[in-house]
């Protein structure tokens, strides 16, 4: 990853990371309009803070750190719970070749999962978003959130357990595995 201050065009950086940070933002705010605003805020903040990058870690790690903090600041300012995910955004999650009815089932599941993740305690929510939605490694998450590796492992473990309990509770106690299979093969 090249240095922002060097010859790297910031536009190239935006182009490379726009989908990643948009997904990060959406994971926190759960609606397209706020996600777009928040994503712009992230890039603006990165642009303004680029002179503060000390090369003590990778640029991507530093960027994720600022991005997550920007998302948390945004939530604090809004002081409201995330809204239900919009179906038109969730439509992008399923292949177009599927039957409409099964696509709706998938959309609800995806939106449902995203909503449940945002309702987790912050310490579990952040690691789950970074691991499952942004596909960062344990090590990258540890650096981005400035946590020990062991803490990341523990929080992922506990966060998933809490998420599973919540999913089972909302499904009325049905077997999670059975439900998942039904959703994937309607």
């Amino acid at each position: 990853m090249e240095d922002l201050e060097a010859s790297l065009d910031f536009d190239t950086f935006v182009s490379e990371f726009q989908h990643t940070f948009y997904n990060l933002a959406y994971s926190y705010v759960q609606n397209e309009a706020d996600a777009e605003d928040l994503c712009q805020e992230i890039f603006l903040k990165l642009y303004m803070k680029q002179t503060q990058f000390r090369h003590q870690c990778q640029l991507s790690t530093w960027s994720y750190r600022i991005a997550v903090n920007t998302c948390l600041d945004f939530l604090r300012k809004q002081k409201r719970r995330p809204q239900r995910a919009e179906l038109d955004a969730a439509r992008a999650l399923s292949p177009p070749s599927q039957e409409p009815e099964s696509r709706l089932v998938r959309e609800d599941t995806a939106s449902h999962v995203r909503r449940l993740v945002t309702q987790l305690p912050a310490k579990y929510r952040d690691v789950i978003i970074l691991y499952h939605f942004l596909q960062l490694s344990y090590e990258e998450i540890a650096k981005a959130l400035e946590l020990p590796l062991r803490t990341v492992e523990t929080r992922l473990y506990r966060g998933r357990n809490k998420l599973k309990e919540q999913m089972i509770r909302e499904m009325g106690g049905d077997d999670l595995a059975v439900q998942q299979v039904q959703n994937l093969n309607p």
Binding site: Q18, N23, Q40, Q52, V113, R160
Partner: protein, 149 residues
């Protein structure tokens, strides 16, 4: 409890971080523990649920970011006034504080001082503050330009 240890191993295995030995040990345990087997199925299903297709960024996002950066560039001094004000205030307080301490240690009786001395003092504090603010501001600019120092 042993099962707790194996449940952690289940997560480790699903994340691709378990060693061969750990995987063997886990399989042996799962063959004999229906609760952990069920836990593994549920956790696998959960991980599958979390495997969501990434959302594409809106088409105009990059242009909007570029526009916002342009707007920000047109207001280069948006932070400077508050920084300058802060430095000036800080410098004034430092100067005034130093003078008070100086008079205190010299044992000066403020009430016996001639009236015009306060004019001279306020002028001194003002000039000292401006000089100190310029010095601190220069240091700040150097630090911002060469953050590796």
């Amino acid at each position: 409890m042993q099962c707790n240890k194996y449940r952690i191993l289940i997560h480790k295995q699903l994340d691709g971080r378990a060693t061969e030995l750990e995987i063997r040990q886990l399989r042996q345990h799962l063959d004999t523990c229906p609760n952990c087997s069920r836990y593994q199925e549920e956790t696998t299903a959960l991980m599958e649920s979390l495997r969501l297709t990434p959302l594409p960024a809106p088409p105009g996002l990059q242009a909007c970011v570029a526009q916002r950066i342009q707007n920000q560039r047109r207001e280069p001094s948006s932070r400077k006034p508050s920084l300058t004000t802060g430095l000036l205030l800080g410098s004034s307080c430092i100067a005034a504080g130093c003078l008070v301490l100086l008079f205190f240690f010299l044992g000066v009786d403020f009430l016996s001082l001639p009236a015009n001395i306060y004019e001279h003092l306020s002028l001194f504090i003002s000039n000292f503050s401006v000089s100190l603010e310029s010095w601190l501001s220069g240091l700040w600019n150097v630090w911002a330009r060469f953050p590796s120092l």
